[in-house]
């Protein structure tokens, strides 16, 4: 059995091994993830692309330890995020699709939330500094409803960064913002993550976003399983980019991807429709 230090020293920050996730209700069962297997190395910036309902958000919930896989293993920094819930305190953070700010707290108190939970020194200027870095100087004491969507998402980003986690998850965090604001935030997010050597799993449904920002792209089929793992995609020339884009699009749209994949795994047809 691996010791704790051996576990911590595993090269992969994130590892999914044959993960199935089935949601059951009284009426039906929905297969969200089908034999999902991939790994993300420490310091890597990986984008996960997939169509709606391919299990992207389910993947995030499993990584955060908020759900349990039906079968298979999820490992974050060598720990099971659900069973060893407390071990990953402060080591993984997520910027969600919507900002999820606590409406009764002002911007700076929202940023301080993880610090309070993790028992960090909230009197330090850390939270204020992050807000300033993200262009929110002067808005520290504004309530969430007094901020625009882009500003609220910046607060959420500051909240994720303030605890200095090893792993950052972005769950379609910039998709709902207008193009200019979204691009600005994406650039800041990548820059901040790279500067600090963070491992990033960036869930998106935008091919261009994935091509622009990631070191590697995982394309998920439906139900959630890796149908393409595309590495070394930074600094592409125009023709390579166009070709890669078309390839990814083909993977996303590929007829029978889900059916073929599900069939191989022996999953009955009525479970092919995924929900995340």
């Amino acid at each position: 059995m691996a010791t704790e230090s051996e576990t911590e020293l595993t090269a992969d920050a994130i590892r999914f091994t044959g993960v199935h996730k089935l949601f059951r209700t009284a009426e039906q069962a929905t297969l969200a993830l089908r034999h999902l297997t991939f790994a993300v190395a420490r310091g890597e910036y990986v984008c996960v692309l997939g169509r709606s309902g391919c299990g992207k958000s389910t993947t995030v919930n499993l990584l955060l330890g908020l759900g349990v896989p039906t079968s298979g293993q999820v490992s974050v920094l060598g720990h099971d995020p659900h069973r060893e819930f407390a071990r990953l305190r402060g080591r993984i953070a997520c910027v969600f699709q919507n900002d999820r700010l606590l409406p009764w707290r002002n911007a700076i108190d929202n940023v301080r939330l993880p610090m309070e939970i993790l028992g960090l020194d909230t009197s330090s200027a850390e939270a204020e500094t992050w807000l300033q870095r993200l262009g929110l100087q002067g808005f520290e004491y504004a309530m969430p409803h007094q901020l625009s969507g882009g500003m609220r998402q910046r607060v959420a980003l500051a909240r994720a960064l303030t605890s200095d986690p090893d792993i950052l998850l972005a769950d379609e965090a910039f998709g709902h913002l207008d193009e200019v604001t979204g691009n600005s935030l994406r650039t800041q997010f990548r820059q901040l993550a790279k500067d600090r050597g963070k491992t990033v799993l960036h869930i998106t449904h935008s091919i261009d976003e994935a091509l622009d920002f990631s070191d590697r792209i995982l394309v998920l089929g439906k139900p959630g399983s890796v149908v393409a793992d595309i590495a070394k995609i930074r600094e592409l020339d125009v023709s390579s980019r166009v070709r890669l884009r078309a390839e990814i699009l083909q993977h996303l749209q590929g007829p029978g991807v889900a059916a073929a994949a599900a069939g191989e795994a022996g999953v009955p047809p009525h479970l092919w429709e995924a929900g995340s």
């Binding site: 402060g90 939970i117 262009g135 808005f139 309530m143 409803h145 625009s148 800041q188």
Partner: protein, 278 residues
């Protein structure tokens, strides 16, 4: 690191100062003219009636005022007033702690809800006066009688409000906070209790009136002290002026507390009321 910039948002030169909520006037000064006219009409009608009907039915306003002053100056009366107010507030506070705690527990544990909710529903079918009778039979002292009746009567509101308050917390906020791996204490302090403030305030505002009415009823039926006891004495002596004076004392208490709750609500829920900046 690349220079960060905002593209769509304004860069404020000064510290952000949220716009103040409009100043609200007190409940009395906020009354419209029509309400004042209606009140004045009722008082005038009463005063006119007092000139034609016996004083045990309609005492004059001056007599009522004199009795009220006399009541407030009597140490025995002041003690009775304090006792009733304390009974109301202590009983409500204890009931809130018990019912609120159970409501939160029921919201997070369906098994607890399945056990408690049917009992609360069953209780709803029993009239409050029946509980007062049970209290008289079961308990000897006045304090347990009052507490029992107030607790039973106000329990459902506290229970349902807090249970549904927890259920109403958006799943997004739950998962956001839980993703930080908080302790139960932190979850309670950082998410649950702040989310429940609106439900708590609603429950208290509803139950303050209920608690006051039930406490006085219990004192009236079974008490030897408190405002209810003096109200019964007024009835036995056909002293309408005293009955009105005691009623005013109760009404002022309930309205004052309700006014205070309103102020507290505006303060605690200011984040819901502030207008958006232009």
């Amino acid at each position: 690191m690349a220079e960060l910039s905002l593209h769509d948002e304004p860069q404020p030169a000064r510290r952000w100062v949220p716009r103040r909520a409009p100043v609200r006037r007190g409940p009395v000064s906020a009354l419209p003219l029509e309400s004042w006219i209606a009140f004045a009409a009722v008082l005038a009608a009463w005063e006119i009636a007092s000139h034609f009907l016996p004083p045990f039915l309609f005492p004059s306003l001056a007599t009522v005022a004199a009795t009220l002053v006399e009541t407030l100056q009597s140490p025995g009366s002041v003690e009775a007033i304090a006792l009733t107010y304390a009974r109301i507030l202590v009983s409500l506070a204890l009931t809130f702690a018990i019912a609120g705690g159970l409501g939160i527990w029921a919201a997070v544990h369906p098994g607890v809800d399945r056990a408690i909710a049917p009992l609360v529903q069953l209780k709803q079918g029993v009239p409050a006066v029946c509980w007062a009778i049970f209290a008289i039979i079961w308990f000897k002292g006045m304090e347990p009688r009052v507490f029992f009746v107030v607790a039973v009567s106000t329990f459902p509101t506290f229970f349902y409000q807090l249970r549904d308050g927890v259920r109403g917390i958006p799943a997004d906020l739950w998962s956001m906070v839980r993703a930080w791996r908080p302790s139960r204490w932190h979850l309670l302090r950082k998410l649950l209790l702040p989310s429940l403030v609106p439900s708590m305030l609603v429950a208290w505002r509803i139950n303050l009136g209920n608690g006051a009415r039930i406490t006085v009823t219990a004192e009236l039926l079974a008490g030897v002290s408190g405002i209810g006891h003096f109200l019964r004495e007024s009835q036995e002596q056909f002293r309408m002026d005293a009955a009105i004076a005691w009623t005013v004392v109760m009404a002022v208490f309930v309205l004052s507390i309700d006014f205070g709750m309103g102020r507290l609500e505006r303060r605690l829920l200011a984040w819901r009321q502030n207008p958006k900046p232009n």
